[in-house]
């Protein structure tokens, strides 16, 4: 008898659970967890077939190390795998390459069972470890390690590489010297769940690798570059990340691909010239007039490359690449119902995927009654770690000729900041009371 009932979603999602630990190299064993049912990660990432939380055991002649753990919900699974390959009393070392909860969820329970282990973390990792262990922190032996520091397991040696901001301040990598094996935690990882574990067995996961880079690593490109500078000189036969497949087939290709992903695909035609992008939305044409005048003023000196974009009806997605390379951003928005308009917010909220720290920001706009939008956009830009050196420019209704000249002056001052020739100003603190 056949049934027309739809298949259970749960059944669709289910994959065979990993039966136990898997050897990934001589005396190196995967003891992680599969999470095939996960559909989004940290709210921001879609995970169409789930993810893995990878943890590893390295066995040396004079010690056993555990490299990272798993999300708390998978603690029992993790400990069962661990106990299948090592006794607690022979585990000497716990390396925490990254302290985010999906890698440290099992740490408290593991430490209760193996309180004698020596924990190795990065300088910034120790801060998070302190918060994770609370009052129990002082019970444990914790050593802060930096690039070049090593831990001996007898005939195996772990060497640390301090690689901050890939993608937390605490991140580090650990290199198993004798086997050219690099444990990278989130770096070079991806959210892709398959119990066949190895990159040459799990099928085509490239989409997931790049998607993960775009949303996790892209805002930290310059730190990825610093990490690659440390990693590229190493002999590497295998990369063991904290999520997704273990990269045992042509691992260097993944490192080269990361280098490609952080490198500009087409050299900018603006060269070393500073760039200012002016974006605007206009309801009645007043903010558009302001934008045009800001553009004229900023372009006047010729030493800054200024571009003007109308966001009306536009998809903001293509603008992210443009903004990533720009030195300055100015947003023109009217105030409607006491707020900036939605397209401007869409673009500003999309900037979380790129690094905006230190870029110059500015806001301007026409308004009818209240004019809050300019201040709101300025606050958002400051939240994006941008500098906003010129107080926003607001004009009630359509700009007059003198007001358009104010807009040109505003543009001139923005260009001067970008070109490194700002007019130095001095004020008293009392002038700030109204801000």
């Amino acid at each position: 008898m056949t049934s027309n009932a739809p298949a259970s979603p749960t059944a669709d999602r289910a994959r065979p659970a990993s039966g136990g630990p898997q050897e990934v190299a001589d005396r190196v064993t995967w003891i992680g967890a599969l999470d095939p049912g996960l559909r989004n990660f940290d709210v921001i990432l879609k995970t169409a077939n789930g993810t893995t939380y990878n943890s590893y055991v390295v066995r040396g002649s004079a010690g056993v190390a555990v490299i990272d753990t798993v999300k708390q919900a998978f603690t029992a699974d993790f400990l069962a795998k661990l106990e299948a390959v090592a006794r607690y009393d022979e585990i000497t070392t716990l390396v925490l390459n990254h302290l985010e909860p999906d890698h440290t969820g099992a740490v408290p329970e593991f430490l209760r069972r193996a309180p004698h282990v020596h924990i190795y973390v990065s300088p910034r990792g120790v801060q998070v470890l302190r918060a994770l262990l609370k009052d129990e922190f002082d019970r444990y032996q914790v050593t802060v390690v930096e690039t070049g520091d090593t831990v001996s397991l007898g005939d195996r040696t772990l060497r640390f590489l301090t690689t901050p901001y890939v993608h937390w301040p605490d991140t580090q990598c650990t290199y198993l010297q004798e086997q050219n094996l690099l444990f990278t935690c989130d770096l070079l990882g991806c959210h892709y769940c398959d119990d066949r574990l190895f990159n040459d067995k799990v099928g085509d996961f490239r989409f997931s690798f790049e998607y993960y880079f775009d949303h996790i690593m892209r805002p930290f490109k310059r730190y990825v570059a610093q990490a690659l500078d440390l990693i590229e000189p190493l002999e590497i036969d295998m990369i063991a990340p904290g999520h997704g497949p273990v990269l045992r087939a042509h691992p260097q290709e993944y490192i080269r691909h990361y280098r490609r992903l952080i490198t500009k695909r087409l050299a900018s035609e603006t060269g070393a010239q500073k760039t200012l992008l002016i974006f605007y939305v206009s309801a009645y044409g007043a903010t558009a007039q302001m934008a045009g005048a800001v553009y004229e003023g900023a372009a006047e000196s010729g030493d800054v490359c200024v571009s003007l974009f109308d966001l009306q009806d536009g998809d903001v997605t293509p603008l992210i690449d443009l903004i990533e390379e720009a030195d300055g951003l100015a947003f023109g928005t009217p105030t409607i119902n006491g707020d900036a308009v939605r397209t401007v917010w869409d673009l500003l909220s999309s900037l979380v995927d790129i690094e905006t720290k230190g870029k110059l920001g500015a806001a301007f706009g026409s308004y009818g009654w209240t004019g809050e939008a300019v201040g709101m956009v300025e606050a958002r830009m400051q939240g994006l770690k941008m500098r906003v050196p010129e107080p926003g420019l607001r004009i009630k209704m359509h700009p007059s000729a003198p007001e358009l000249e104010e807009c040109r002056d505003f543009g001139r001052r923005l260009a001067a900041h970008l070109a490194g020739r700002p007019m130095e100003r001095e004020i008293d603190m009392s002038a700030l009371l109204a801000r």
């Binding site: 720290k357 400051q382 050196p389 100003r425 001095e426």
Partner: protein
């Protein structure tokens, strides 16, 4: 009241401030790129580079010293949410 000059080079602005003013009281209002997290001296987000006038700032507390060390801050870096400008001229930029 004793005053000091506090210059934020990333926005080319000098503010005349009363002695004892913390950088955090000024930087956001003038659009400097110094950013804040906890605002209580624990997270290290507001590490700020002191270009000039290190000696014109209040001494760091034990907490600030620990946070600076944990965050691998340089010799001329301070936490903008903690240090106070006491006198003379101080020039800063985001760390």
């Amino acid at each position: 009241m004793a005053t000091a000059k506090l210059t934020f080079t990333d926005v080319a602005l000098t503010v005349n401030v009363p002695s004892g003013t913390r950088i955090i009281e000024i930087s956001e209002k003038i659009g400097s790129g110094i950013t804040y997290g906890c605002r209580e001296g624990e997270c290290g987000t507001c590490i700020t580079h002191i270009i000039e006038g290190q000696d014109n700032l209040s001494d760091p507390s034990a907490l600030e010293l620990r946070v600076l060390k944990d965050n691998l801050a340089g010799r001329n870096d301070r936490l903008a949410c903690q240090c106070q400008v006491l006198e003379g001229t101080v020039k800063v930029r985001p760390g």
